[in-house]
Amino acid sequence: MSRRRRYWSVLRTVAWRNLHSVIRAPALLLPPLAFPLFFYMAFAGGLSTVGGLPGFGYYNYDAFQFVFVLLQSAAFGGVFIGFSIGADFDSGFTRRLLLAARDRSAVIAGYGVAGLVRAVLVWVVVFGIALATGMQVGGNGIDLAGLVGLALVVNVAAFLFAAGVMTRLRTLQAAPAMQLPLFMILMTAPIYVPRNLLEGWISSVAKVNPFTAIIEAGRSLMAGDPFHILLAFAAAGGLAGLLTMFAWRGLRKAEAAG
């Protein structure tokens, strides 16, 4: 078997094992699905009056919040797969996998592919519910494809971060070390109102937060008025590139630890 085929074989096996566990226990999909839905309901429903503020300047508050929820679920989808890596380290399964695989990065890539598939399933449900409850879409098919592409890059970047943390700490108990930094980056972006309506310290933080460029570009795609798309992809892709190094070095550390 060629090296490439061996790589794909390991990747496919790890990804299928993870997805199979979701098929056997659909409850595993519940938290990644419930949280975006809940945030969408709470923010779009509870704060819709904010959409009428002078200077708000976005066509629909539901759509405004939907983009945040989509990108947030993309990021947390990556982290939820980190839970699987941690749990497999706790049970000793990941160590056995690393021993068995010739190219161990295929093991990590397998988890990543599973994370991507799970995230897409969640988006289909969330998008369906948002449309069914009256969310208006301003963009065309190409804009929406751009939005989904952005979410995919965010998912991969978040997964690489989670994989880097988990391969270093190798226990599910380290879950807060993945969640907290991500939570802080997400929450210090313009979540409730556009950047021009932010006041105080969060206005300064949002300016330098890379997630701001991503969320603003996502909202512009949803509205059908693309803006700073390259910047957003560069921010998300740049993060993913840096985090690939982080995950790769984490894998080397896990290998060294035995």
Binding site: P31, A34, F35, F38, F39, M41, A42, A44, G45, G46, L47, S48, T49, V50, G52, L53, P54, G55, M184, M187, T188, P190, I191, Y192, V193, L197, L198, E199, G200, W201, I202, S203
Partner: protein, 263 residues
């Protein structure tokens, strides 16, 4: 053991309360997140939603003051987890079984378990109010209002702590108690925590917020900060906290009796 040799109810409760306090103090992970996480969200919401004060009819010019009730409520929700997890752990590690062999009375056990929760509740109340005042919020009800705010906050913590006790006793599983946490969070977010009910434009959300008891608890806490003395809001908040406490404690007592029989 004779009745004369059985320690009084108060003494029993004191021993268990002391154990609960020591246990809480020795576990920073139980204290730190309920203090830090609500303050972090307060900082984000107060700054991120400050533009909401421009909505016509918004009751105050400071969103920080409006949102100050949020961490008190969120901290109380952590009480459900703390109380429930503690008692479920006691069941899981056999401490409860050993306790059942002693003449310890049920009410002492429940009162003792709630003490650790109230300790965290007190720390939270002081920290949240101090942080709010330091950030520029003012208490319209004055110094006396601060004491009433503490009293209401502790009443709510006790009420949610009793809910946690019931869940812990009923299931005997700390994982099951942890599962309550998202549900409690949903109650918090589907309330009038972010905007006053009359300014929520989404009909379904306003209806949910109106039937959600957490809205009235938050409105009671908030009234002391932004209104001053609002007897209706305070009466509703104290009344609902007391009702939750009585019902949850009654259920916890029944669950305790049931578990004693099973033990």
């Amino acid at each position: 053991m004779t009745a004369a040799a059985t320690p009084a109810l108060r003494t029993q409760a004191r021993y268990l309360a002391w154990r609960s306090v020591i246990r809480t103090m020795r576990t920073p992970i139980v204290i730190v997140p309920p203090l830090v996480f609500p303050l972090f969200l307060l900082a984000i919401n107060a700054s991120g939603l400050s533009a909401a004060t421009n909505i016509p009819g918004f009751p105050t010019s400071s969103y920080l003051a409006f949102a100050l009730a949020f961490p008190f409520m969120q901290g109380s929700i952590f009480a459900t987890n703390t109380a429930g997890t503690n008692i479920a752990e006691d069941i899981g590690n056999g401490f409860f079984n050993r306790l059942a062999l002693t003449p310890m009375s049920g009410p002492s056990l429940l009162a003792g378990q709630l003490t650790g929760v109230l300790l965290i509740g007190s720390l939270q109340a002081v920290a949240f109010l101090a942080a709010g005042l330091a950030a520029g919020a003012t208490l319209q009800s004055g110094v006396l209002g601060a004491f009433v705010l503490f009293a209401l906050s502790l009443s709510i913590a006790a009420a949610f702590g009793a809910v946690g006790l019931f869940a812990g006793l009923r299931t005997g599983s700390s994982e099951a108690v942890q599962g309550l946490f998202p549900l409690m969070f949903i109650l918090l977010f589907l309330s009038s925590a972010s905007l006053p009910r009359d300014l929520i434009s989404s009909d379904w959300f306003r209806t949910v917020a109106t039937i959600n008891p957490v809205s009235y608890l938050i409105e009671g806490l908030r009234s002391l900060v932004i209104v001053g003395w609002d007897p209706e809001a305070l009466g509703l908040a104290f009344g609902i906290a007391a009702a939750i406490f009585v019902v949850a404690l009654g259920l916890a007592t029944l669950a305790l009796r049931d578990r004693m029989v099973r033990t």
